[in-house]
């Protein structure tokens, strides 16, 4: 076989993609290694993030140099991440399925293109603009209308009762995340619905089903796996979303949310909000602990995406 420079070039460029993933894993792990040693399992179970005394001489603990009193526990942020993403999905899943059904079955062909474009735009809006909108429009709405409304209707449940605060918090973050996740789930489900074989639909019609019953009882069950995959894909996006959450979450530090209006912090937004102060740590342990958060986030994202892709198959649209 002759040496083909063109092919070699192609293979080299192609291998950069898996190499990038590998490099992220290796370098984040290598950099955070001292922090992994220093923090141990307490990192995941502790709920205080304390940089320690940055002005005193650092001391050696567990073989690592760190400021006196330094303590890095991220349980609060793990809880914040899971709660925001969970509530966001709770809102987004039914809405996305509704949107997908509406776009795939409820419209004439010409309108379908235009209205699909609206949902695609939702995916194109940069996350910092979502944050801006959340900051200016949504948080006042939550503080003055949505929050009091929810409390009036569902206030008998402890989660919905209690102080509403300024509007920055769990509810606002979840709503913004839901908006960002809907286009991802809706597009995947809509495509899956469009691929349902006509025989399936016709069989249901032949049994006398109404159009909606065809969708509900013949089409949606056949795309169940795609729906689950799409939701996990959406979950992956929600877990790692940074800017929009940062701008509306209120940035709680070291305490757990008391109700759905409480300020929270997620792992991703914590990295952005804390790097400035972490850099003040002369031992670098704080920056390395942030790298450990990034590493955990990376591993979670890779696992959720692998599961999602195994369920939905490789992306049908290049843009998802």
């Amino acid at each position: 076989m002759t040496l083909r420079p063109f092919r070699i070039m192609l293979v080299l460029a192609t291998s950069l993609i898996p190499l990038a993933l590998l490099a992220i894993l290796v370098f984040l792990a290598k950099y955070s290694w001292p922090a992994i040693h220093f923090n141990g399992w307490h990192f995941l179970s502790g709920h205080t993030w304390n940089l320690g005394n940055l002005y005193a001489n650092p001391v050696r603990q567990r073989g690592q140099l760190a400021p006196i009193g330094a303590n890095y526990g991220i349980l609060v942020f793990i809880v914040g991440t899971l709660l925001t993403s969970g509530i966001a999905l709770l809102i987004a899943i039914p809405v996305s399925i509704g949107v997908a059904v509406f776009l795939a079955e409820g419209l004439k062909t010409r309108l379908r293109g235009a209205l699909s474009f609206i949902v695609e735009l939702l995916a194109a809006v940069p996350s910092v603009v979502y944050g801006l909108w959340g900051y200016v429009v949504l948080t006042p709405l939550v503080a003055h209308d949505l929050g009091p409304g929810l409390r009036a209707v569902l206030g008998f449940l402890p989660v919905f009762s209690g102080p509403i605060g300024s509007g920055y918090g769990l509810l606002s973050a979840s709503i913004v995340l839901a908006l960002m996740v809907v286009p991802i789930i809706a597009a995947t489900v809509r495509d899956a619905l469009a691929q349902v074989p006509p025989e399936t639909k016709e069989a249901a019609y032949a049994l006398g089903a109404t159009h909606f019953e065809v969708v509900r009882f013949a089409m949606l069950p056949t795309v169940r796996v795609n729906i689950i995959g799409a939701c996990i894909l959406g979950l992956g996006r929600a877990l790692g979303e940074t800017m929009a959450v940062l701008m509306v979450s209120g940035g709680a530090l070291n305490y757990f949310p008391r109700n759905i209006y409480s300020p929270i912090t997620t792992m991703a937004s914590f990295i952005v909000s804390q790097l400035d102060s972490a850099m003040q740590d002369p031992t670098g342990m704080a920056v390395r602990s942030l790298a450990e958060i990034a590493l955990i986030l990376f591993i979670i994202a890779v696992i959720t995406n692998i599961i999602a892709r195994l369920l939905t198959g490789t992306s049908r649209h290049a843009s998802l």
Partner: protein, 289 residues
């Protein structure tokens, strides 16, 4: 056995009507916030717009956005400089030779890479480029971070574009005695070009709107970029949006909305361009092969 019953039929019809109503309602539930986002940004952004925005640099929390506009352009085109060649070559490989195990796993990992949170990519670059190689906050570190983020999209769009080129054309080329290189670059590439362009535009739209991967790789600067690739932080529009809206000053808010307006307009224009391009080459489907 079920017997015909008018009330039962009525009930089913009513349930169907409720079902469709819920579907329409959920569409409105996402369409209205989108329109409100656009309305808010356009209203407040347009009123903050002035000529000096484009001619002066940021001065503390007031002044113009010239440094941020040029910085954003430097960062996104820098990112394309890395992402476009790599992505296009990888896409060609995946479509032309990617049926074996290596190609299949790269395609899978390509999808996984699109799911890695952008802040993780930013932190990775912070650790490796900004600290590790000592580049500090710089346009090169920012561009490379953005490039890692968008390269999987360019690869995927390119692959799909090449898969749409009918195999008979390639075979015709081989029958004429062309080499593999000629078949790919002279026959398939021209036909795949609109699809590749779509991918590059998509990558451009994403990198224009990113913030998280840039905060700790590009930094922020009030000054115009002086052309240095490393050791020199650079301003960008999305930074203005998230950091200036938190300042309790009218001038800072105006700048944040003006920046949001500029970003949204660019992203909107690219997306309209994209949907027109896609309409022209309709079957943007993955290869059945």
């Amino acid at each position: 056995m079920l017997r015909y019953s008018p009330t039962r039929l009525l009930k089913r019809r009513a349930l169907s009507a409720i079902g469709w109503t819920l579907a329409v309602a959920s569409f409105l539930l996402v369409a209205i916030p989108l329109l409100d986002i656009l309305y808010t940004v356009f209203r407040k952004g347009l009123s903050a717009l002035s000529l000096s925005l484009f001619t002066t640099v940021t001065n503390g929390i007031s002044g113009g956005l010239l440094n941020a506009i040029t910085g954003t352009l430097a960062l996104v085109f820098g990112a394309l400089l890395f992402a476009a060649p790599v992505g296009i070559l990888a896409g060609i490989y995946l479509s032309e030779f990617g049926r074996a195990r290596f190609g299949r796993s790269v395609r899978f990992l390509d999808d996984v890479l699109t799911g890695v949170p952008s802040i993780v990519l930013g932190y990775f670059s912070y650790v490796t480029l900004v600290i590790g190689l000592g580049w500090q906050f710089s346009v090169l570190a920012g561009s490379i971070t953005l490039a890692i983020m968008v390269v999987p999209y360019v690869a995927r769009f390119t692959e799909i574009a090449f898969l749409q080129v009918p195999n008979s054309l390639r075979e015709a080329g081989y029958a004429l005695g062309f080499k593999e290189f000629t078949v790919i670059t002279r026959i398939a590439l021209p036909l795949a070009l609109p699809g590749i362009l779509t991918g590059v535009l998509f990558a451009l739209a994403i990198s224009l709107g990113e913030t998280a991967p840039l905060i700790y790789t590009a930094g922020w600067s009030n000054f115009l970029w002086n052309g240095r690739l490393i050791h020199e932080p650079i301003g960008y529009l999305t930074y203005v949006i998230w950091s200036f809206i938190n300042q309790p000053f009218r001038s800072a808010h105006a700048l944040a909305f003006a920046a949001a307006f500029l970003v949204i307009v660019m992203v909107l224009l690219i997306n309209i361009g994209l949907s027109l391009l896609l309409k022209r080459n309709r079957p943007l489907r993955p290869g059945q092969s």
